[in-house]
Amino acid sequence: MISISNINKVFNAGEPDEVSALKEVNLIIHEHEFVTVIGTNGSGKSTLLNVIAGSAATDKGIITIDGTDVTRKADFQRAKYISRVFQNPYSGTAPGMTIAENLLMAFFRGGARYPVISLKGQLKDKFRTQLASLDMQLEDRLDNLMGSLSGGQRQAVTLLMAVLQTPKVLLLDEHIAALDPKSAAQIIRLTQKFVSENNLTTLMVTHSMKNALESGNRMIMMHKGRIIEDFQEQDKKNLTVEDLLSKFEDIRKAEKLTPELIDSLKNQYI
């Protein structure tokens, strides 16, 4: 479904604060795979998702989605295939507009919008039943401003918006990180429900190892712009949180070494 080959992404190239966010990344994700992504801070997880979604351009490499080369396509052009949920609950919705209006935006994802009034009767009823499926008593608040909702509720609506038109790929970037534990659990449950109901190809970045292990059928681990581990379904089943922690411990130890050694180690390792 998604194929990424030899992707490089450098920020602030040529300047003192130059950062290589992605280095020669190769990744193939098959249809219906639910991949969780973990990694240290600044390891390039968000950048990877942005590069797939098109909101960050690549310096090098090719990205195809469902067989189409999308490397040169803008984010809004890729939105036909991809829907996203961001870490910040404020990013995914328009706070100054009503829930129904927000849902309408998602209803037309990737399609044309005409100067006709669609937001009425039937469509509103449809939105109402779908909101009910979130189980957050939002079905009666269609005409409330998005800005009046709590973070958890917003993230739930964003998630609903993401699957309103079934996407080819769903990208979730730490979408529960900013939530309180109770809401976070609720959103994770909803995520699993939506993904499995629609059998979605999903890429989910999370900082919670527990979530990373419990969700999905594949897991990748990133560090310093590279994918350093790729656990397929079987391996992943056997992994524990402790295993992952020790992997991180290894990395931390490695970081005390000289840069040359790290590189050689990594080369050996991968």
Partner: protein, 949 residues
């Protein structure tokens, strides 16, 4: 009321623009300054198309499209090149200035004589005040537009636009090209602004390159006021708020003007207001504590806010309307003069100073016998309109617009009150008529182009052969462009002079332009009048000194500033001349008959200091001809005085000319005098009436007429046909009003009532001959013969006789005539006619015989012959029935015609009026004697009834 309705109309027209700003600012948080340019673009496109003959409503979609294109460019620059929205707007706005100039071809297009939506509306006006009628239409149009825009914002596309402004990241993630949506929004916003410009141009009657400057702040103010008044999530309410905000803003401007605020301060007040509202509705409300917070919270409650604003508005409006309704009779006999200047430039303030000084000299003292209101539009074109509205509201009697822009505004707004403009280069270019005498009836003024031809001639006295001269100008000013045209025309005859041109768009460019021209090896700068160049005259002087290139200019003020030679009009004098025109109008003349005056005071100046510095030799001819000079830094110039204007101060001399004395003529003269005196008192015009009477002598009459012409009377009024004829043949120039004339056509002064000798007009009061003979038939059904005596040398008498012949035929009488030429023959004629066996004796409109009615009446009574005549008063002298005209009424009516002439209507434009107010006299004693019964209705209709004492 006009002031307020005018403000509402402006508010609605500007609301189109405010809605544009609502889209960019409220929806996209993008205060788009492009609109400052787009507004003028809309006006420009609309006006050239309208002048071209387009339908004024069809130009609106074109203005929309062109405006949208400008917005598209801003949006494109902003999104594609990631340039700050404000900066992108400034870029496009700046560029649009040139584009607008190209569209218009000149900087100002008048639409006064073109078909605009306003003129179309007024042609179907059912009789309402024009502003009110326009208001109805605009409210309806705005209602439609409001619903249209609000509905659009509720569509899928409109929602996407709103969401884009709200959260572009989210919208992009939903597959929307944020850039495209932004570009689209900015484009339609500017399209609306274009419509607004197109409408305003039509409303104010012209398009000007300077329109729209500062629009963004006013537009923002409208949006913010709207938001403050109507807080709601509904787009319908939000858009309505913007419209109301725009109207309230314009009302506030009108209010400020009304309480005498300087419109210049209005900009600062607006800026502070916008700032305050932004602060008050934003951070201040949320973060403050204590008392202010309570106040804020109280205000926050939506309904209270609405009520508060509504209440305030009603209160303020009520105060003013009430004031007008309760004290409408606060009559002020002092004449109100409204002076409006377009900006603070030298030329205009000098004009104003000249105006005031001369008005004072003419006896007008502000606050004592007149009220002078002055306001300055400070360079903002629509403010001229608002000032005029304000003046109208203040019931200004005479408008004095100084500058072309102010005159244009006045011309458009004022149709029924006098306008005296001053310092307008070419009034015909802005639609004020086609020649100095052929202009709208309510306007006159002082104008003139620079004497560039003469200046070039002076230049030629110093530089011969092939030379180059340099000129610097700003093509944005219509006056400049017309000056330049004159210069080029003048140069056509002199192929040896080559003109080096440099254009500037603001004062900062002048130095560079001067340098560029100096480099082209010119002999001199020959500067036409141009505000931009003169604002930075020092830079030209600097270049002049460094390169030893002298400056020649038409602006007399520049002599002391460093020009070598000036030859030009004094704008101070323009103001002085305007003062005289104002005075003439106040004294009763109609502007229609006052030709536009060219500037009269000229300065020919020479700067010896500059000549020395540039080592330029000055020919003796120029030294001698110059009337002003600068030597050792001291300016010597003659005092500005207009040639004394005796025309105005001398009292009006009126000759009243009567050919002979008769009660009838005396009566008409009496009626005339009475009416005139009351008019003169009311108008504070002094008339010096002199009465002439020829006492029936032709040669005396002739010499009286000649004397009247020689003594240069201002007006002549004649009483009787003979007086008219004598006077008309001698006098072809002094305005002449006649009355007590039977038939001016037969008298030879007219071919039809409206086609008559140019310098005269008056009343035709034929003797009611036909009616009298009809009356004879009614009273004496069996009478057969009527006898008439008349004087063959009186045209009038002949006319009456001819009428009598026709009437006799009609009513079955036989007419016997005896003619005489002197009264000596009267007795014989009477005896002869009586012996011919007449049943009725009749004297009609014969001046000579009318003098001797008693002499005739006595023998007729003795012979028992009923005596009829055509002067009611004759019954007192012994006639039986006399039917005539009421000559005191005729005199009064003549006075009315005369007043029209004094007010300035040209006699040739006043048709002669047929005016016969019946007056009947009956002698009931004679009726008894003749044994006839007079019906009561006739007796009661009679003016004079003679009965037994």
């Amino acid at each position: 009321m006009e002031l307020w309705i005018g403000a509402v109309n402006l508010g609605i027209l500007y609301a189109f623009m405010a809605i544009g700003t609502f889209i960019t600012y409220k929806l996209y948080s993008f205060p788009d300054i492009t609109i400052d340019g787009t507004f003028a673009t809309g006006a420009a496109v609309a006006s050239i198309l309208i002048v071209d003959g387009w339908n004024p409503l069809l130009v609106l979609p074109v203005a929309f499209l062109v405006g949208s294109l400008a917005g598209f460019i801003t949006g494109f620059i902003h999104t594609r090149f990631k340039i700050e929205g404000l900066l992108a707007g400034i870029l496009v706005m700046t560029g649009l200035y040139s584009v607008n100039l190209h569209i218009m071809g000149k900087s100002n297009i008048p639409l006064l004589t073109s078909k605009t939506f306003v003129s179309i509306l007024s042609s179907v006006n059912p009789g309402l005040p024009p502003e009110l009628w326009t208001c109805f239409f605009l409210v309806a149009a705005m209602l439609f537009f409001w619903i249209l825009v609000s509905l659009f914002l509720k569509t899928d596309f409109g929602l996407t636009m709103r969401a884009t402004g709200n959260n572009p990241v989210m919208v992009a993630a939903q597959g929307v090209s944020v850039n495209r949506i932004k570009i689209f929004g900015v484009a339609i916003a500017n399209g609306f602004v274009g419509i607004s410009g197109a409408l305003i141009a039509q409303y104010q009657g012209f398009a000007d390159i300077g329109m729209g400057i500062g629009s963004i702040i006013f537009s923002l103010a409208a949006v913010i006021i709207g938001e403050a008044i109507l807080r709601s999530r509904s787009v319908f309410v939000q858009v309505l708020g913007v419209i109301i905000g725009s109207v309230i803003f314009r009302l506030a401007v009108a209010f400020a003007l009304n309480v005498g605020m300087n419109p210049n301060d209005l900009k600062l007040i607006t800026a502070v207001f916008v700032l305050f509202t932004l602060v008050a509705t934003g951070a201040f409300g949320k973060n403050s504590s204590g008392f202010m917070k309570k106040v804020y919270n109280w205000l926050r409650i939506k309904n209270r806010r609405i009520f508060l604003f509504l209440g305030l508005t009603i209160l303020i409006a009520g105060y003013f309307i009430g004031k007008q309704m309760i004290f409408p009779s606060e009559r002020n006999h002092m004449v109100k003069i409204g002076v409006v200047l377009a900006n603070q430039s030298d030329i205009l303030t000098k004009t104003r100073d000249g105006l005031y000084s001369e008005l004072t000299r003419l006896g007008y003292v502000n606050g004592k016998n007149c009220v002078i209101l002055e306001q300055n539009a400070e360079g903002d074109i629509p403010t001229n309109l608002t000032i005029i509205d304000h003046f109208i509201h203040q019931k200004v009697d005479i408008f004095i617009p100084i500058s072309t822009a102010s005159t244009q505004a006045a011309l458009n707004k004022i149709k029924n009150r006098p306008i005296v403009f001053a310092t307008v280069a070419n009034p015909f270019m802005i639609g004020a008529g086609t020649s100095p005498v052929n202009h709208p009836p309510n306007i006159t003024g002082v104008y003139g182009a620079s004497p560039i031809k003469e200046l070039l001639a002076i230049f030629r006295q110093m530089y011969r052969g092939k030379v180059k001269i340099g000129v610097i100008y700003n093509p944005a000013y219509p006056n400049t462009v017309s000056n330049l045209k004159d210069m080029k025309t003048a140069l056509e005859n002199d192929k040896d002079i080559r003109l080096e041109e440099a254009t500037v768009s603001n004062s900062n460019d002048v130095y560079q332009a001067a340098l560029a021209i100096a480099n082209r090896d010119v002999a001199a700068f020959v500067l036409i009048n141009d505000l931009t160049v003169f604002n930075s005259f020092e830079s030209v002087v600097r270049v002049s000194k460094n390169n030893e290139i002298p400056i020649f200019t038409c602006d007399a003020e520049r002599l002391k500033d460093g020009a070598l030679i000036v030859y030009g009009y004094e704008y101070y004098g323009s103001g002085m001349q305007a003062a005289h025109l104002v005075n003439r109008i106040i004294r009763g003349e109609s502007p229609q008959n006052i030709p536009f005056e060219k500037y009269k005071i000229l300065t020919y100046g020479l700067n010896y200091d500059v000549a020395r510095e540039l080592s330029t030799p000055i020919p003796a001819a120029i030294r001698l001809a110059a009337d002003s000079w600068v030597r050792d830094g001291i300016l010597t110039r003659p005092a500005f005085t207009l040639p004394p204007d005796p025309e105005l101060w001398r009292e009006k001399k009126v000759a009243l000319f009567q050919f002979s004395s008769s009660s009838l003529l005396d009566m008409s003269m009496h009626g005339f005098n009475q009416q005139i005196n009351s008019f003169a008192a009311e108008r504070s015009i002094k008339f010096k009436m002199e009465e002439y009477n020829a006492h029936g002598d032709f040669s005396t009459g002739q010499s009286i007429a000649t004397a009247i012409v020689e003594k240069n009377y201002d007006y002549v009024v004649t009483f009787s046909t003979l007086a008219l004829q004598i006077m008309a043949s001698v006098n072809k120039k002094i305005p002449h009003v006649f009355c007590a004339v039977t038939d001016p056509i037969k008298a030879g002064v007219a071919t039809t009532l409206s086609d008559h000798q140019q310098n005269l007009t008056g009343l035709a009061t034929p003797q009611p001959v036909e009616a009298t003979i009809k009356l004879m038939r009614q009273v004496f059904p069996f009478a057969k013969k009527i006898g008439m005596i008349w004087n063959t040398s009186e045209v009038n008498s002949e006319i009456c006789t001819i009428k009598a012949r026709a009437a006799c035929k009609q009513y079955g009488f036989q007419l016997t005539e005896r003619t005489i030429t002197t009264l000596d023959d009267l007795d014989d004629a009477r005896k002869s006619i009586v012996s011919s066996g007449i049943d009725i004796f009749f004297i009609s409109g014969d001046v000579m015989i009318s003098q001797v009615i008693p002499q005739l009446a006595k023998p007729m009574t003795q012979e028992k012959i009923p005596f009829f005549s055509n002067t009611a008063e004759d019954v007192n002298s012994g006639t039986f029935i006399s039917l005539g005209a009421d000559y005191s009424q005729v005199g009064e009516k003549a006075a009315e015609v005369f007043i029209g002439v004094v007010k300035g209507t040209n006699p040739k434009d006043i048709p002669i009026e047929l005016y016969v107010p019946f007056s009947l006299g009956i002698n009931l004693n004679l009726a008894k004697e003749f044994g006839v019964a007079i019906p009561d209705t006739m007796i009661s209709a009679a003016k004079i009834v003679v009965r037994q004492p």
